[in-house]
Symmetry: C2
Subunit: 404 residues, 2 copies
C-alpha cells in the first residue's frame, strides 16, 4: 500500500557548495509522484520542525530551484541541534499535525544520527513514516560511502588554492603553512596534493589527524624541504593530534567551544597556524614564515564547484525519493565507486554509518606520515571534475654569466 502524505526536506550541519543540488534533486523528483501530496522545507533542520518553520516548496519555481541548486550553502538554513527522545516526541506532534510521511535530511554523520533517532522513535510511536538520510560533508568522513557530496568541491577549492600558493611561495621563498578543515579525517587536507604538477611543487608536506603530530619531527621535515627547494609549502589539518590523541589546537585555546554533538570548534581562529609558524621561526631560524587558516572560505566558495560533485549531489537527492517510494525501510543513500570512474547508489541501514567517522585508509598515507600516496591521488583525481585549471612555469634556459 502506498504511503500517502507530505514530504519534508531539511539540511543539517555545515553547509557545502553543492548541498542545494541534493535539495533540488529531492524536490524535482518528489513533484513527480501523486502519493507525495506536498513538499515542505523545514528551516534550520530539526529546529524548524519543532517550531513548525516550514516553507512550501511546491510554490517554488523550477527556474529558481535550479538557480538555488547552483548556489553554495544550505538554502533551508542549518542547525547543530541533536534531538533527544523528548525533542523527537515534540517533532512527531508536528509531523502528525501536518501529515508529513516522508522526511529527507541532508547532512553528515551527525545528521545521519539524527535521522536514525527520528526513525527509531517513529517505530516506537507506530507512526508510518519514511526517514531518509542524504549524504553531505566536506570532511568526506561518512562510512560506507566511497566519498560524499560536498567533499569534491571543497577539495577542488583546496587544490586551486594550493596551486596558487605554491607558485606564490616559489616566487618569494619562505615557509607556508595552510590549515585546512578536517576535525578527525584528513581527506580535505590531503586534497592539497592535487596541486603538485612538477616534482618539486608544493605542498611538500601534508599532516593529517590520522597520524600523531610531533612538533620536532614537523620542524625537521620543514628544514629538509627548505634546504632542498628554497621554500616549503605545508598543508595541515585543523584536527591534528599529539601522540595521546589530544588535538594540538586544544593546548592553544583558552575557552574551548563545543557544539551539541560534543565537537570542539576548530575553525574560525588562526591559533593553530600561528603556533606552527612560531615553531618554525624559533626552531629553524627562518624569518619568512606565513600561515593561513582556510576556515570558512573553503566550504562555500562561490564558483568553483566540481561538476562531478554537482551531479552526484543531485543524484543522491533524486535517489532518496526513489528509495523512499520503492522500499519500506529507512536508511541512508550511499555512493559506491564501481569503475574508473563510475558510481552507483545504494540504500544503507542508518546504524551502519550514523555518528561514525571514516578515516583516511592507511594506503592513502605515506610511511613517514607526512604526505599522501599515489593511491590517494588516483582516488581523488576523478572527483575534482572537468575543466580543472592547471598552472605552469617558464622553461627558458639560463643565460651564461659574463661577470661572475
Amino acid at each position: 500500500m502506498k504511503l500517502i502524505g507530505k514530504a519534508l526536506i531539511a539540511q543539517g550541519g555545515g553547509p557545502t557548495a553543492v548541498i542545494n543540488q541534493s535539495m533540488a534533486g529531492v524536490v524535482a523528483e518528489a513533484r513527480k509522484y501523486s502519493q507525495i501530496t506536498n513538499i515542505y522545507g523545514a528551516l534550520r533542520g530539526v529546529e524548524g520542525i519543532l517550531n513548525e518553520d516550514f516553507i512550501d516548496l511546491s510554490q517554488e519555481t523550477s527556474c529558481n530551484l535550479e538557480q538555488v541548486a547552483q548556489s553554495p550553502s544550505s538554502a533551508l538554513f542549518s542547525t547543530r541541534v541533536k534531538p533527544d527522545e523528548n525533542y523527537c516526541k515534540e517533532i512527531f506532534k508536528v509531523l502528525k499535525a501536518h501529515d508529513i510521511r516522508y522526511f529527507f535530511y541532508i547532512g553528515g554523520n551527525d545528521s545521519a544520527d539524527t535521522v536514525h533517532i527520528v526513525s527509531e522513535q517513529a517505530k516506537l510511536d507506530n507512526y508510518e513514516f519514511r526517514a531518509i538520510h542524504i549524504p553531505k560533508t566536506i570532511d568526506n568522513d561518512l562510512l560506507i560511502n566511497d566519498h560524499t557530496p560536498g567533499y569534491s568541491s571543497a577539495a577542488r577549492f583546496v587544490m586551486q588554492a594550493f596551486s596558487g600558493i605554491n607558485l606564490d611561495m616559489r616566487a618569494l621563498s619562505g615557509v607556508y603553512i595552510g590549515v585546512v578543515m578536517g576535525r578527525n579525517s584528513g581527506f580535505l587536507t590531503a586534497a592539497a596534493a592535487a596541486a603538485q604538477k612538477f616534482p618539486d611543487d608544493g605542498p611538500h608536506l601534508i599532516y593529517l589527524p590520522e597520524r600523531p603530530f610531533n612538533i620536532d619531527n614537523f620542524a625537521a621535515d620543514v628544514q629538509k624541504v627548505y634546504l632542498q627547494y628554497g621554500y616549503c609549502v605545508v598543508a595541515v589539518s585543523e584536527g591534528i593530534k599529539d601522540s595521546s590523541d589530544r588535538p594540538i589546537i586544544l593546548s592553544l585555546l583558552k575557552d574551548v567551544e563545543k557544539d551539541a554533538h560534543g565537537n570542539v570548534t576548530m575553525s574560525g581562529t588562526g591559533a593553530l597556524g600561528d603556533l606552527l609558524t612560531q615553531a618554525v621561526k624559533e626552531k629553524l631560524g627562518i624569518s619568512r614564515v606565513r600561515s593561513d587558516t582556510f576556515g570558512y572560505i573553503q566550504r562555500c566558495f562561490l564558483g568553483c564547484a566540481s561538476d562531478v560533485d554537482q551531479r552526484e549531489a543531485r543524484e543522491v537527492g533524486e535517489k532518496a525519493v526513489q528509495f523512499a517510494l520503492a522500499t519500506n525501510c529507512d536508511g541512508s543513500v550511499t555512493i559506491h565507486r564501481i569503475g574508473d570512474y563510475a558510481v552507483e547508489y545504494k540504500m544503507t541501514p542508518l546504524a551502519d554509518l550514523a555518528g561514525k567517522t571514516k578515516h583516511m585508509p592507511d594506503n592513502f598515507i605515506n610511511a613517514a606520515g607526512n604526505h599522501v600516496t599515489n593511491a590517494f591521488k588516483d582516488y581523488l583525481r576523478p572527483l575534482l571534475g572537468s575543466n580543472l585549471p592547471s598552472a605552469t612555469r617558464l622553461r627558458a634556459p639560463k643565460v651564461a654569466k659574463i661577470l661572475k
Copy 2:
C-alpha cells in the same frame, strides 16, 4: 636613432593572478622588433640582475608562454629588495656587460620607485637605456591609474568568497569577520561589497584603513546588524588603524617584521581576526563568532581571474614595449578609464607615482565609515569580468503553523 640592444624583464613585489600576462605581453611584443636583439628574464627582480641570474626568453615557446600567462604568481620569481645607489652601480655593470638597453619592471609603487632609482642612475651614468615600470598590485594603490592589473582578479576572489560566506553564516547564524589584504588602501576589502545581492546580504560592515577604527564603535555596529538580521558578516582590512594612525595589528604582534621598503608584515597571521573575534564575544556576549584571514589564498588563487584583468595586464605589457620604442623617456604605463567601460593607456613620469600610495577616495566610503557607497560599486563592477557567478536563495512562501 634607434636604441639597439637586449631587453630585460623582471617582476617585483607580491605576485598576482595576472602578472604573467604582463610578462608575456612584453615578450610577445618585443619579439616583433629587430632593435631588440634578445629578451632576457631576470630571476627574483633586481636581485637577479645583480647576480646575473638571467633566462633567455627568446628560447621559450609561444605555446608555453601563453600557458604561463594564464598561471598566477610571478613566473620570474620576485623580490622585496630595494636598490640604493651602490646597488644600482653594480646593476649597471651587469646591464652594460650584457648590452641590455631596455628594462621592464612589473610591480607596485615600491617597484616603480626601484625603476625610478635605476632610471635616475642611468642618466647620471650616461648609460643609454629605457626603464619602464609596468603596473601590478592587488592593493590597487598606484596613483594616476584608474585601477591596477591584479586588483580585479583578487577583487573577484574576495567577492566569490564573501558570497559563499554570506550564505554560510545566514544558514548557521553568528558573526563572521573576514580579514582581507590591504596595508594602506581599502580597495580589496571594499570589493567584498560586490557579494551583496539581496538587501540583507553581507558583508554588512566594511572597515578600511582610510577611516580610524574604534573597537567600541565596531562592536556597536555588529550588535545593530546582528539584532536586525540574526547574523553579521564583516570585511576588514588587515591595515585598519586607530585614531592616531597606528595599525591595530601592531598592538598585537610581539615581533614586528618589516621588509626592505619598511613595510610591516601583516598577512600570514590570524592575530587581527582573533582579536576582533574576542572583542565581539566579550562585548556582545555572542557565542558563535568566527574569523578567517584571507592571507595568501586571495592573491594567486588558481582559476578565478577576471578576464578583464587578464586582458588589461596583457595590454600594459604590450604597451610598455611600444612606449619604450616610440618615446625616448622612461616612465610608467598607466591605465585610464575613458568610458563605461573602456580604458586607454598612457606613459606617466615615474616621479608621479613611485613610492606613493593611492587611497580610497572619500566618495567611495559611506559617511559612517563602515561600508562603501554605490559609486564604489559602480567603479568595481566592470573590473570583475564576465561570467561572474551569482548565488541566490529560495523564495517559497511560509506554511501556516497548525500547533503554535
